[in-house]
């Protein structure tokens, strides 16, 4: 099936999310849609999938114009979508999710479960997914959930499959398997639209690349195009992909975490006997797939949760058992993983958000009263220092873009002298410019002699920042490795494989993306061999 978008325009109030976008997806090709967060990729796909009504432009299927009122129409036309946030009901089984909306029924409207199971098994077997039709979604790892989404789309006879940031939640090995699945689908004649902002993946898998910036198509590229070139097309200026930083000079280990164990209400060991040190002037990155105890670990360190056992010492002072206020007072700066819900108060002004943790102290308060003049003065200073792009310090935090919200959070946390900085997912969902800024500030904080803990699920970020990497899997520390460790080794460790075993396996068997890394390692990457080519031998293994 050939799919064509012509002149699609979609605006939300003053924001032009899509500005006359043209896109052609040929039958059986993997077409990558590359763009930064907020460039308008997801909006475009939601228009295509019938979730949004375009203001202008048309969609053509096999050269015939079509109009989609809802996702039902898009599905009927053979378009399937795997959303970034999975559209699966967690308390339903795989089979129930797959048939939802087009259920096979017996008399009286009762669902024909054997038929539903058969549909799942058929596709699952065809692609070697190994998905149990009767498993509940909430019990499945994200990688498997994603396969369920793919089964769901294919069971509706999708000829074009849209994958929206499919690798965001996967380990490198799972990503590698997904790439295999995408190739398999392509061979069976399905076209794929692959939406991403990860250059490495695009080069590994795409047949053609369309780059979107600020709602407009700014160019198309071949997969052989170098990463630097793709990045500058995506961002609109030349980008330095690495972080400029000097070698760490670790000082005294002032942060000592010992035997920390957190058990949640359901009895699951979210953090299991975790011990580590962080030294002054050192960035420790905690790597791991989302949901392996990182959130709980950081929340315990801040005092938001209490551990069952263990201790956290900062400069020789025990933090466990203290209130959050005491922990902050001890000099802990905390950047929460979800800035929009935990980092800022959306309906407070930027100035107010900048003093959330300082409002009771001089100079912002005198007695019971706030001193608005001091608050505003502080805000003016901070937004200048942290380059927060806003019309006014009185604007609500909700009016800021993700990048600027994060700068507000950083500005607040770094505005007092820190003895420890904990930043969870500091750049999730940010554009490249903001990522550079945030990374630079974090490295600066390290160079000031602050111990820094970064929690990130993005290996790129971990590798860019870390002086030392702690890999977590199911609440445990799988390994403590130096920064710059091979990404395949890290990926295996993120799946729970111990360090020495991971090194051995990674040496035998490089993933497509890891392979691309090796290839990119020499200073001048050879333009003739594409990442996809280097990856193919691995499939025969």
């Amino acid at each position: 099936m050939k799919l064509e978008l012509q002149g699609i325009t979609k605006t939300f109030g003053p924001l032009v999310a899509n500005d006359h976008i043209d896109l052609v997806v040929e039958p059986g090709e993997i077409h990558a849609l590359l763009g930064e967060n907020g460039a308008g990729k997801s909006t475009l796909m939601n228009v295509l999938y019938g979730l949004y009504d375009p203001d202008e432009g048309q969609i053509l299927v096999d050269d015939a114009p079509v109009r989609f009122v809802g996702p039902g129409d898009a599905m009927a036309a053979g378009i399937g979508m795997v959303h970034q946030h999975f559209m699966l009901v967690p308390v339903f089984t795989v089979a129930e999710n797959v048939v939802l909306g087009h259920e096979p029924v017996r008399g009286a409207g009762l669902i024909d479960l054997p038929e539903a199971r058969r549909r799942v098994k058929e596709i699952s077997d065809q692609f070697g997914f190994h998905v149990d039709p009767d498993a509940y979604i909430e019990d499945l790892p994200v990688g498997v959930q994603q396969r369920v989404e793919i089964i769901k789309a294919l069971s509706r006879q999708a000829k074009v499959l849209i994958l929206d940031e499919p690798t965001a939640v996967l380990t490198p090995q799972e990503t590698d398997e997904l790439i295999g699945i995408m190739r398999q689908l392509k061979e069976s004649g399905t076209s794929i639209v692959f939406i991403t902002h990860k250059l490495r993946e695009v080069r590994a898998v795409a047949d053609r690349i369309t780059i979107i910036r600020r709602g407009k198509v700014v160019g198309t590229a071949e997969p052989s195009t170098s990463e630097t070139e793709l990045a500058s097309l995506m961002v609109g200026r030349s980008v330095d992909l690495g972080v400029d930083r000097s070698v760490a000079v670790p000082g005294e280990a002032t942060v000592q975490v010992r035997n920390l164990t957190v058990i949640d209400e359901a009895g699951v060991r979210q953090v299991d006997d975790v011990s580590f040190d962080v030294a002054r002037g050192e960035i420790l990155a905690i790597a791991g797939v989302q949901g392996n105890g990182q959130t709980e670990l950081t929340e315990v360190m801040l005092g938001l949760q209490s551990p069952v056992a263990g201790s956290v010492q900062l400069d020789g002072v025990e933090l466990v058992g203290r209130s959050v206020r005491d922990v902050l007072h001890a000099g802990v700066g905390f950047v929460p993983e979800d800035r929009s819900t935990d980092g800022v108060i959306a309906d407070f002004s930027i100035a107010e958000n900048l003093i959330l943790d300082l409002h009771r102290y001089e100079p912002f308060a005198r007695g019971v009263a706030l001193r608005p003049a001091a608050v505003r003065e502080n805000a003016d200073k901070r937004i200048a220092e942290f380059d927060v792009r806003t019309g006014s310090i009185d604007a609500h935090a909700s009016t800021l873009s993700g990048g600027n919200q994060q700068k507000v959070v950083l500005a607040r946390e770094m505005s007092r002298p820190l003895r420890l900085l904990i930043a969870s997912q500091p750049t999730r969902g940010l554009d490249v410019g903001s990522i550079e800024f945030v990374h630079t500030r974090i490295v600066q904080e390290r160079d000031n002699g602050t111990p820094v803990i970064i929690v990130s699920t993005e290996l790129d970020e971990v590798l860019a920042l870390a002086d030392r990497i702690l890999v977590m899997y199911r609440g445990r520390v799988v390994g403590d490795v130096p920064g710059g460790t091979d990404r395949d080794v890290l990926g295996l460790m993120m799946a729970g494989v111990p360090e020495d075993e991971a090194v051995r396996q990674a040496a035998e068997h490089h993933t497509a993306l890891g392979g691309a890394d090796l290839e990119a390692a020499p200073p001048t990457p050879a333009p003739t061999t594409t990442a996809a080519d280097t990856a193919t031998p691995q499939e025969e293994l």
């Binding site: 599905m75 559209m87 259920e103 029924v105 009762l110 295996l492 729970g496 111990p498 075993e501």
Partner: protein
Amino acid sequence: MSAPTIDAPASARPASPQVLPPIRWHAPIAYGVVALFGLVVFGLLGPSGETSTFGISTSRDFVQFTPFSVPSKLTATILCLGALALAGVSFYETRRREKAGVWLPITYGVLMVFAFLVWAVAGKDSALPLTGLLQGSLFLAIPLVFGALAGLLCERSGIINIAIEGQLLGGAFLAAVVATLTGSAYAGLIAAPIAGALVGLLLVLFSIKYVVNQIIVGVVLNVLVIGVTSYLFSTVLKENPDTWNNPPGLPVISIPVLSQIPIIGPVLFRQTALVYIMYVVVIVLQIMVFRSRWGLRLRSVGEHPKAADTVGIKVNRTRLRSTVLGGAVAGLGGAFFTVAAGLAFGKEMTNGKGYIALAAMILGRWSPKGALAAALLFGFANNLQLQLSIIQTPIPSQIMLMTPYIVTIFAVAGLVGRVRPPAAEGIPYTK
């Protein structure tokens, strides 16, 4: 694809001292304290030399059983010792970090209730009619069952229905008026759901179309229905009760054979049409909500509306339908207050039953059979209070009046444990 992953790590991990979460002793301690209290008050300090008499059949039964008597003090002591033993089991299992089955609280509850009954009726001449106790429990549970089913129909689709109280009251009112006007109790039974559905329609319109907070709309609707029915009651119904407010009652239908089964026959199968409808509704909903296409879509809309939308299910339309249906079910339950027993409508006669129904829905974990069980428990507590105030027990009647609500609070807080309401409950769906 050959992917070497996942399975290796477990063995490779260094053994570490197992840190375990602190044990929660609340439940066994509560069991123990209550059983000890019962042992002392009902047993050891109980009236010696008295007997307690229980009747187990009604005068109209096919098989007649003579009432039986037991020595009060001894029986209460034995029952409480049994409960104490169960508390011991609970201590033991908690210590071993095992979870006792649901049989434990149920058996414990039955033992303690009987110990209490033995103590309460000690030395009374008249027998406490056990069959009547059960029959009355079922009777009082009727509006709660309908109300709880209404609540779950709405909440499974993501709309919080606080307006059950208003729907019951509206149903009671319209049933009384229509039954009086037509002279047919069955006409009232048909009219009742219409009133409930109208309240449900208002609820869902404000919730979906105007995106008003659903809890606020629900509370306001309750007040509105109380206002409207009270106004009409004092201006129209009271002026001319024979024309407007003198409904005939539903006839009791005995199912042949089944109603002759000892003890449970008369309880379950000598009832009005409303009760038989209730059986059908519970069974049908239990099957349809969990096993049909309609139910799957209903639940998907309440759990993850966006996922439902992306597979072409109309979220708000589904919510509208199920909320109106839920309102109709609650309205039908409202008929209980008037036509079921042939009673005249009275101001605010539902008396908070809608809220108790909501509690029954939560206690029943948003499932029809659970709602039925929870409603029966509340009905039993309510009826126990009625029965005991008739035979004049040593307990002040005000305290007895509180029992159903105390049971409700303890049941919802203690027995429910961690329940998971539909994930999208109360959240409006807008694209």
